[in-house]
């Protein structure tokens, strides 16, 4: 039988050597991992605006992104802030500044892409929602980072779920923000047809994840509402 002091000594040696090993590995691999994450974010921005595919290579992602995606910073009133770029934004400090991405082809805007994020059931979910140039119709939505239950909440990033958002409207005919709600069950069976464009089918087994989605999608759209109104009003005057 070992003495207690030896037990403590042994535990300390094991813990310290394990942590040194892991710290070293994490440090060595960090740059590559962050590059991958950055690439994945770009892929998701593209995917939300229906550009590119799952199997794109690194070069293709970067090429498409450079070709189509532009970004700018706006403030809470929806006005462009020109002395900062999206990359310089610090979400902890720049509370009154918002990043805005848009897809552009030959100088014409095809889609506005807004970042969305918030709590699901277990984790913070990050994603993008792309709106068509009327700033009302959803072009696509993606979720790229979350820690929801595989097979249940994690289904939110699957195509069968996200494709339901396509063509849905975030505004009422009067221009008020309604957002899009994931319901429990099937839209076809539960929602009258003239309201169906604000709702999408739920995922059985992930009611709480979807509840989180409903809340943060609405909150994040609310923040961009001044910008949405501004662009829409300008569009109507023309």
């Amino acid at each position: 039988m070992h003495k207690n002091s030896y037990v403590f000594f042994f535990a300390a040696v094991v813990t310290i050597s394990c942590s040194i090993l892991l710290a070293a590995a994490a440090n060595l691999l960090r740059d590559r991992q962050q590059e991958n994450i950055a690439l994945d974010i770009r892929k998701n921005i593209l995917a939300s605006a229906e550009l590119g595919s799952e199997e794109m290579t690194r070069q293709e992602v970067l090429g498409l992104y450079d070709k189509y995606i532009r970004s700018k910073v706006i403030n809470l009133e929806g006005e462009e802030v020109s002395d900062k770029t999206v990359e310089q934004l610090d979400p902890r400090k720049d509370l009154n500044l918002l990043p805005l991405y848009y897809a552009e082809e030959d100088g014409e805007i095809m889609a506005y892409i807004l970042p969305i994020s918030g709590k699901g059931l277990w984790s913070t979910i990050y994603g993008y929602i792309a709106l068509e140039k009327d700033l009302n119709t959803v072009m696509g939505i993606t979720f790229y980072q979350h820690g929801e239950t595989p097979g249940l909440g994690a289904e939110i990033d699957k195509e069968w779920f996200t494709s339901n958002f396509k063509g849905k409207k975030i505004l009422s005919p009067e221009g008020d923000l309604v957002s899009i709600t994931v319901i429990k069950g099937k839209v076809k069976e539960l929602i009258p047809e003239d309201e169906a464009y604000h709702y999408v089918d739920g995922i059985s087994g992930s009611t709480l994840t979807c509840k989180g989605l409903n809340i943060f999608i609405k909150n994040d759209l609310e923040i961009y509402k001044p910008f949405i109104d501004k662009i829409r009003n300008a569009g109507m005057e023309q």
Partner: protein, 226 residues
């Protein structure tokens, strides 16, 4: 078998040296591949076997991760077997296994990001895979590093074989492809053939796994006694 007359070996070896690939060592490696397969005979580790076998590439990466973790953890624990205080041996084993698993997870995130996203939590869950702690407890704590290495490799490969067989079946039947390449010609789809949706879901894995276990026991004629 008393060979090995070099100074270093005579110092370390008190008993006559066992050959690297003696009959016993070979059995240590080959037994878990079939007769004592961790999945089909002991029915361990099936949680991940169900979760990552929808397609072959993910199953292959998962297998690679388990081979790495299991062999290294067996060797590491075997090397420390006389030093580990028995009071805290389980937690020490877990620390070793967890370290290796996190290492694998970090490497996957750096080099195989897409597959690591698909594997999601299941790489992390290798820590709780019964095969790994089971081999550490049942084998590595009592045996020298080399046999422990073989035992770890054998068990991991036994796990990998079943994973790959199940994944191959599920991908061909469920998605009509193998390793991402379409196998079923378009003409067959045009003629009314449909992919078996059940195979993409977990029950598909259960059914295939059950068939494999049944087949293996038919051949080996080994049954559990009532």
């Amino acid at each position: 078998m008393a060979e090995g007359n070099t100074a270093a070996e005579t110092k370390v070896q008190t008993k006559p040296k066992e050959k690297l690939f003696s009959k016993k060592n070979k059995r240590t490696l080959s037994d878990p591949l079939s007769d004592n397969n961790p999945i089909t005979l002991q029915v361990l580790g099936i949680c991940s076997a169900l979760a990552v076998t929808v397609q072959v590439p993910t199953a292959l990466v998962m297998s690679g991760a388990v081979v790495f973790v299991l062999t290294i953890s067996n060797v590491a624990i075997s090397l420390m077997r006389n030093k580990i205080p028995s009071k805290i041996r389980i937690i020490v084993e877990l620390a070793v296994v967890a370290t290796l698993v996190i290492l694998v997870d970090q490497v996957l995130k750096a080099f195989l990001f897409d597959i690591s996203k698909k594997l999601s939590v299941f790489v992390g869950l290798i820590i709780t895979n019964c095969i790994i702690l089971g081999r550490a407890e049942a084998f590595a704590l009592q045996n020298k590093p080399w046999p422990s290495f073989l035992d770890g490799l054998g068990n991991a490969l036994g796990y990998a074989i079943i994973l790959l067989v199940v994944a191959t079946g599920r991908e061909i039947l469920g998605s009509g492809s193998f390793f991402g390449f379409q196998l079923i010609p378009d003409s067959l789809y045009a003629a009314g053939y449909e992919n078996m949706g059940l195979m993409v879901l977990s029950p598909g894995a259960f059914i295939l796994l059950g068939l494999i276990i049944w087949g293996q026991r038919m051949i080996s004629q080994k049954f559990e006694e009532n």
